[in-house]
């Protein structure tokens, strides 16, 4: 085993730098592929099993001591509630999860869809937050620290699933509120989220994300006529901890199927990576240009004066 000589080391370094600047420029600036934490937990929601009983909503409300809802949780008419523009119910400051009912064209049976934070592998709420109020924990949860939040609502804009809500009812200290995967009170103690435990149908499976993907694929393979051949959240925006199986096309039950496969941050990571470079190089570069230009002007002015002197002689 020959020791690497200093010369060889430097030569390799230079060669590497050259190769990097030629071939590897694209990959150097591209976003690194994060697959989430390898031991991250997740939940697989099977829409074919949901019966729209709202027990998950009730359990969530109790678990987090949320304000009482306008209607009791056994009032199933709210499942069909739509706002003036036809939008279904959404998560808000008093509900971290909601179930909506969707009528499927050409089918007698409605489909119910539970929504909550999907706990992305690379959360755009987190990357949009300039005070670092968000954390993606090793357990897979995307949690949020209200002590740090300044209430700018950037995360609400950034979230591709429109999940973070705002406590508009609070005049003095409005904060962001969202599902936290029952992180503090359950997940860290090895327990499933309250909604998962409460679901009578076991429409949700709790486990490691990798295992859930295997279960999801197995269900599709086992009953290909029952399921759409897609696990929503496996790839969407870089993958999410909460994923869905459906028996009807996902766009018919309120999912955005146009979302990119890459994490949202990938759209700006290259650009943002260039910002420090621009800040460091551009001032020196343009000062140089400026000085060169000025020097030329000065020289030209000096030449001009020399000429004038010559003429007057």
């Amino acid at each position: 085993m020959g020791k690497i000589s200093r010369r060889k080391f430097l030569a390799a370094g230079v060669a590497g730098a050259v190769a990097g600047s030629i071939g590897g420029a694209r990959s150097a600036w591209a976003a690194p592929k994060l697959q989430g934490y390898p031991d991250g937990m997740g939940v697989l929601v099977d829409l074919t099993r949901c019966i729209g009983c709202r027990t998950c909503e009730a359990a969530c409300n109790a678990e987090h001591n949320l304000p009482a809802p306008q209607e009791p949780f056994d009032d199933l008419s709210v499942l069909e509630k739509e706002s003036h523009n036809g939008a279904k119910r959404r998560t808000d400051e008093s509900a971290y999860t909601v179930v909506n009912r969707y009528e499927i064209p050409g089918s007698d049976t409605p489909v119910f869809r539970k929504m909550q934070c999907n706990h992305c592998n690379e959360p755009s709420c987190l990357t949009s937050c300039f005070v670092n109020a968000y954390t993606k924990t090793g357990e897979g949860a995307v949690i949020y620290d209200p002590e740090v939040c300044v209430g700018c609502r950037m995360c609400m804009v950034a979230c591709p699933f429109y999940v973070p809500a705002y406590s508009y009812s609070s005049a003095l200290n409005p904060l962001i509120v969202k599902c936290n995967f029952c992180y503090d009170n359950r997940l860290v103690h090895g327990q499933p989220p309250a909604c998962v435990e409460a679901c009578p149908q076991e429409a949700m499976v709790f486990g490691h994300r990798e295992q859930l993907l295997a279960i999801g694929r197995e269900r599709i393979r086992y009953q290909p006529d029952k399921y759409v051949d897609h696990i929503y959240g496996e790839k969407e925006v870089g993958g999410t901890a909460w994923m869905y199986l459906s028996g009807v096309p996902f766009e018919q039950v309120g999912f955005d199927t146009t979302l990119q496969k890459e994490p949202i941050i990938s759209n700006v990571k290259g650009f943002l990576g260039m910002v420090p470079m621009v800040l460091a190089i551009w001032p020196a570069l343009f000062t140089g240009f400026h000085m060169l230009a000025k020097k030329r002007e000065r020289n030209a002015a000096a030449d001009c004066q020399d000429d004038k002197k010559g003429e007057s002689r």
Binding site: D74, S83, A165, Q201
Partner: protein
């Protein structure tokens, strides 16, 4: 701690009850009613009319899939189990865990990576999907409280004291849709 103790007692009660039931079945002395109290926290126990259900289904296997003396009928089961004897446990509990998402269950499921039945529902899921699946297809009652009546704690969980529809709630505010 107390909750855990209570849960353990519940589980023990379940086990004791189902083991009794198993003995009954092998003696061809089927129970007329079965008390199911897995959701005793929020609902009163269900007095399941076993004899009535025996009268209306074709075979025991409709509910107790490959148990209770009836071989497997689902063709996806018979691919492997066509010559398998009916297995001895009759109680759902013997295979379907009451706590399918506890850390122990999650890890034991994942440790045995070569096990075929990795997607086995827990007890509550098995009951509801089995019962409700039939109730939906056969037009039987499907409301939650058609089968189990809620107790006081259940009422408070579902905020049943709120009036429907659109009762104004003094506490909390918010709660509307955007």
């Amino acid at each position: 701690m107390q909750a855990r103790l209570k849960r353990r007692t519940e589980i023990l009660a379940f086990l004791a009850f189902f083991s009794l039931w198993a003995v009954h079945c092998t003696a061809a002395d089927l129970p007329d009613t079965v008390e199911i109290d897995g959701l005793a926290k929020y609902y009163y126990a269900v007095d399941f009319d076993h004899s009535m259900h025996i009268d209306i289904v074709e075979s025991c296997a409709a509910c107790h899939h490959h148990t209770a003396g009836t071989p497997a009928v689902d063709e996806k089961c018979t691919m492997c189990h066509d010559r398998t004897e009916a297995s001895s446990p009759v109680a759902c509990q013997r295979c379907h865990a009451p706590d399918p998402f506890s850390a122990e269950q999650v890890y034991s499921r994942e440790r045995e990576s070569r096990r075929y039945h990795v997607d086995k529902p827990g007890l509550k899921g098995a009951y509801h999907r089995s019962c409700l699946g039939c109730h939906i297809s056969e037009g039987a009652p499907i409301g939650c409280q058609d089968c189990h009546e809620r107790n006081q704690l259940g009422d408070s969980l579902f905020k049943a004291s709120l009036e429907t529809p659109n009762a104004k709630v003094a506490a909390g505010g918010g709660g509307g849709t955007h």
